[in-house]
């Protein structure tokens, strides 16, 4: 899969990865890889600018958390982020259906 395809939807994928489960950066990357069946092949470093972008937009919130002597930045969906995810999931499902129908070979 072309990296640009994923990059264009990275923000939504991150929101979905955080739905119902706050996580730190590495766990988010692992979740993205798991959800994409290993197809997520963007440089992992690109996830962090996206996380900060989403945070600035108010779709994610983060805080430091300390466990086993390690400080970690934990991200979670905000109410706004959750609403945005639901709305875009609906739009994407409808968009994907239309494109899939449009790409079907002529009968």
């Amino acid at each position: 899969m072309r990296a640009e395809f994923l990059k264009g939807h990275l923000d939504f994928l991150i929101l979905a990865a955080l739905e119902g489960r706050p996580a730190h950066g590495y766990a988010i990357v692992e979740e993205l890889r798991h959800r994409s069946d290993g197809a997520f092949d963007l440089p992992e470093g690109t996830v962090y600018p996206a996380l900060h972008r989403l945070e600035r937009s108010g779709l994610l919130a983060s805080r430091w958390s300390e466990a086993a002597g390690r400080k970690r930045r934990i991200y979670r969906l905000t109410t706004r982020g959750q609403r945005s995810l639901v709305r875009h999931r609906k739009e994407w499902t409808s968009f994907a259906r239309v494109v899939t129908l449009g790409l079907e070979p002529a009968k």
């Binding site: 590495y26 470093g45 962090y48 600018p49 900060h52 600035r56 108010g58 930045r73 706004r80």
Partner: protein, 177 residues
């Protein structure tokens, strides 16, 4: 070169290339370091040698110049799509709720003032006999009604202000550093 040297060099190069406020840059470096430690541990658990794990973790993360470029572009990045929409929605929703709660608080103050006025009119010296009794009763009823409306409105104003506060508090830029 040891594992810690490789990661330290990577982080130093990334730090040098970041053109962000110091506090934010340090936060990002701490996050990246944390990520690399996790990645190293996971790769070693999968059977990679120390050197392989470091090389792979750094390669997967991306070159420092590329990662720094992504970060540096962020603050000046034109807000579009999902972000613009989220920002506009949040401003409008919180703003409307807050405005409504302020109007309701003003309305409740007016109700209390009317209630006090009605109460003070109950003691009008000009009223006499039955007329005075009726006047006092009516004034006290008005006072009670105004006070009830005032309390109700104030309660709704508090609830709405609380909702606006919750939304505002949910804004992550508030605890981002």
């Amino acid at each position: 070169m040891s594992t810690s040297d490789s990661i330290a060099d990577f982080l130093a190069e990334l730090r040098d290339r970041l053109q962000l406020p110091r506090e934010l840059a340090e936060r990002l470096i701490a996050e990246v370091e944390d990520h690399l430690i996790d990645a190293l541990r996971a790769l070693k658990d999968r059977g990679h040698s120390e050197k392989e794990a470091v090389d792979l973790a750094l390669a997967r993360f991306g070159a420092p110049e590329e990662v720094a470029k992504c970060f540096n572009e962020e603050p000046g990045r034109k807000t579009t799509g999902i972000h613009k929409e989220a920002g506009m929605k949040s401003r409008s929703t919180e703003g409307i709720i807050l405005r409504v709660s302020i109007y309701l608080a003003i309305a409740s103050t007016a109700c209390f003032l009317l209630g006090f006025k009605a109460g003070s009119q109950a003691k009008l010296p000009a009223a006499q006999g039955m007329h005075r009794v009726w006047w006092e009763h009516a004034s006290k009823s008005f006072q009670t009604v105004w006070f009830e409306i005032g309390f109700g409105t104030l309660l709704v104003a508090f609830v709405l202000a609380g909702l606006a506060w919750r939304d505002w508090k949910g804004d992550p830029t508030r605890d981002s550093q």
